[in-house]
């Protein structure tokens, strides 16, 4: 498949917690194509967080291969992974994870700062990204001056500013009320329509419903992998 963004081949991830060996993932193989909108579901302990960390290049597998956009990232060094995260992955977290003392604009600029972009250019890019999520008039506000939904939209702008291959969202609506959740889901749907590959980890079925493809995990293995025709 030439348009595969993510290819996971027989991924295992084991780690020790205390004296106990935890088998978080046991032979997971998943292919995600460009412009797919997928949700990863599963009960706690199913390994979905571990999978998300691997997909997000925050972690490397114990065995197996992970190809992201044509590069094998499963054997990369820490700094190489940092570069991949910077260029290929846009993170959206449950708790937003904005820097509290920085303005919305400065938060959105951050990935570009680490990408080494000159000040003027990165400011323009960050402004565009904020405009895109409808926060063009909130650029100089700090996170504590913004509502939950606005904060998550700043986080989405930050995730998108480097034009990543995948938007990786971890429980993006976990800290939001249902109205705001719907608002965020509309943003995701819009981005998906514009061609963005979106992967979202959630345990809420009604949120997962927004995705075209739902992968469920159980005990470190893929339990179901369903693609719906008329989603979002």
């Amino acid at each position: 498949m030439t348009d595969a963004v993510i290819q996971l081949r027989d991924i295992t991830r084991h780690y020790t917690m205390g004296s106990e060996l935890v088998r978080a993932l046991e032979g997971v193989s998943v292919v995600i194509r460009r412009n797919e909108y997928s949700a990863i579901m599963g009960p706690s302990g199913s390994g979905k967080s571990t999978l998300m960390n691997l997909i997000g290049c925050l972690d490397t597998p114990t065995s197996g291969e992970y190809w992201l956009n044509g590069q094998e990232v499963s054997r990369m060094s820490d700094d190489a992974l940092a570069r991949v995260r910077n260029k290929e992955i846009g993170f959206v977290f449950q708790t937003f994870n904005l820097l509290p003392r920085a303005t919305a604009l400065q938060n959105v600029e951050l990935p570009l700062v680490y990408g080494g972009m000159p000040t003027r250019e990165r400011r323009d890019r960050a402004r565009q990204a904020l405009d895109r999520v409808g926060l063009g008039n909130r650029m100089d506000h700090r996170p504590n001056e913004l509502s939950g939904g606005q904060r998550q939209r700043v986080a989405i702008a930050r995730a998108l500013v480097n034009q990543p291959s995948i938007l990786l969202a971890d429980e993006p609506t976990g800290n939001l009320d249902s109205t705001t959740s719907e608002e965020i889901m509309r943003v995701f749907a819009l981005l998906h329509d514009e061609g963005q590959t979106v992967i979202m980890v959630t345990h809420e079925p009604d949120i997962a419903e927004h995705a075209a493809r739902v992968i469920t995990l159980r005990d470190g293995e893929v339990e179901t992998d369903t693609i719906r025709q008329s989603a979002a």
Partner: protein
């Protein structure tokens, strides 16, 4: 990440936590304050000692031949003191002998000093320094005559009772009156005032304007030294090498005149501005030698405090570090961030220290007669020390931050 961004971010953090920042900076602040203040004060003292003290008391390119040193900054043992008192006095004959034989181009003046009461028209100026000397005395002392004139060589030869007075004497005795041509009585004898010396200011808070000078041939000589005796023989050359050469000559001439054997020590003293400063130089050397130690102690303490603060900051901001790593910060980005933050913190402390140090120096200048000369190099050293201490203190916490696992860091509360 750009240095400027890192510094701005660090300043932001410092400003957000003013009190905490102040306490974390106090070690570096005290260290640098100390550095600046001590250097300024000691240098000020140096300038003072050289410009004012020695050159005013002895004179530029000048040395004095005396029975014993008159400017003593160290301790003198009883034994040395007794030896000084056993030495023969200098005489007019000695002065004539020397002035006939010195080959180097120099000017001389014989001089004796004492104290006397001066009175004019019922007013009395008590305990005024009375100097008897020659016409060259004014040139050697670099005295500027503010009104009237100095006495002349002819007047000295004739022993005319004329008087040149200091500014303070003129002020005391001649309020609203022109002192020139007026008769001042000293020891029952009248002297005509021919000149007033321009104001000299103070030395260690003591006025340098309470004096009167009269020819050493005038009757006033009897008030300050015995017949044929001189206290000081001043020799002024036109340059430092000339002065050193003349000093050599005087030493040789005096030794042969007094029949001293090669192993005998001099039984006279040759005093220069430089020599008079030796005692002070010892003190300032000790101060400068002790300074690095004192500054180092404060800076080490300051560094440890900053290291602790940075370790706390890393612990508090673990999640932020996780976020930054998730967004693509490499180890060295995180390392640089915390090192720059620590260095900025410390440099801010150093800046306040410099300000406070300069303030202290100016306070000393305001409260004492010493000028405080703030040395530019000490400011540069202060800034460099601030940056260095901050970087050194920041490296360990920063490397801990840079080695955090992004997943654990993101999970921390």
């Amino acid at each position: 990440m750009a240095l400027f961004d890192a510094i701005r971010m660090a300043l932001h953090t410092i400003w957000a936590q003013k009190l905490k920042s102040f306490f974390s900076l106090i070690g570096v602040l005290i260290g640098v304050t100390f550095l600046i203040a001590v250097v300024s004060i000691v240098q000020g003292m140096n300038v003072y000692m050289e410009d004012q003290f020695a050159n005013r008391l002895v004179g530029l390119n000048t040395f004095q031949l005396l029975r014993r040193p008159s400017i003593v900054t160290g301790n003198v043992t009883d034994e040395v003191w007794r030896e000084w008192l056993r030495r023969p006095r200098l005489t007019y004959a000695d002065a004539d002998y020397l002035s006939e034989r010195i080959g180097t181009p120099v000017i001389f003046s014989r001089q004796c000093d004492g104290r006397a009461d001066l009175s004019y028209n019922g007013k009395v100026a008590k305990d005024i320094g009375l100097t008897v000397s020659e016409a060259t005395y004014f040139r050697i002392k670099n005295y500027e005559i503010s009104s009237g004139r100095a006495f002349t060589a002819q007047e000295v030869r004739a022993g005319v009772p004329v008087l040149v007075i200091g500014d303070l004497v003129a002020e005391r005795l001649f309020e609203n009156v022109d002192p020139l041509g007026k008769m001042i009585t000293i020891g029952g004898m009248p002297y005509r005032v021919v000149g007033v010396v321009a104001k000299q200011g103070t030395l260690f808070g003591i006025s340098l304007d309470k004096f009167a000078v009269t020819p050493f041939t005038s009757p006033g000589r009897r008030l300050v030294c015995p017949a044929n005796v001189i206290e000081e023989f001043n020799v002024q050359a036109t340059s430092v090498p000339g002065m050193l050469q003349a000093m050599d000559e005087v030493e040789t001439l005096m030794r042969s005149r007094r029949g001293l054997k090669p192993q005998d020590p001099n039984n006279f003293a040759l005093q220069t501005a430089e020599g008079a400063l030796e005692g002070w130089k010892k003190i300032s050397t000790v101060l400068f030698a002790a300074l690095p130690g004192l500054v180092a102690i404060s800076l080490v303490v300051g560094g440890i405090v900053i290291m602790n603060i940075m370790l706390m900051a890393v612990a508090e901001r673990t999640r932020e570090i996780g976020v930054r790593k998730a967004l693509g910060a490499k180890r060295r980005d995180i390392l640089a961030q915390f090192v720059v933050e620590s260095a900025t913190l410390s440099t801010v402390g150093a800046m306040f220290g410099i300000g406070l140090g300069i303030g202290l120096a100016f306070l000393v200048r305001a409260l004492t007669p010493f000028p405080a000369a703030v040395a530019p190099w000490s400011i540069a050293v202060g800034v460099i020390l601030g940056i260095t201490v901050g970087m050194a203190a920041g490296i360990y916490p920063a490397s801990r931050a840079s080695r955090l696992d992004p997943i654990d860091a993101l999970r921390s509360e």
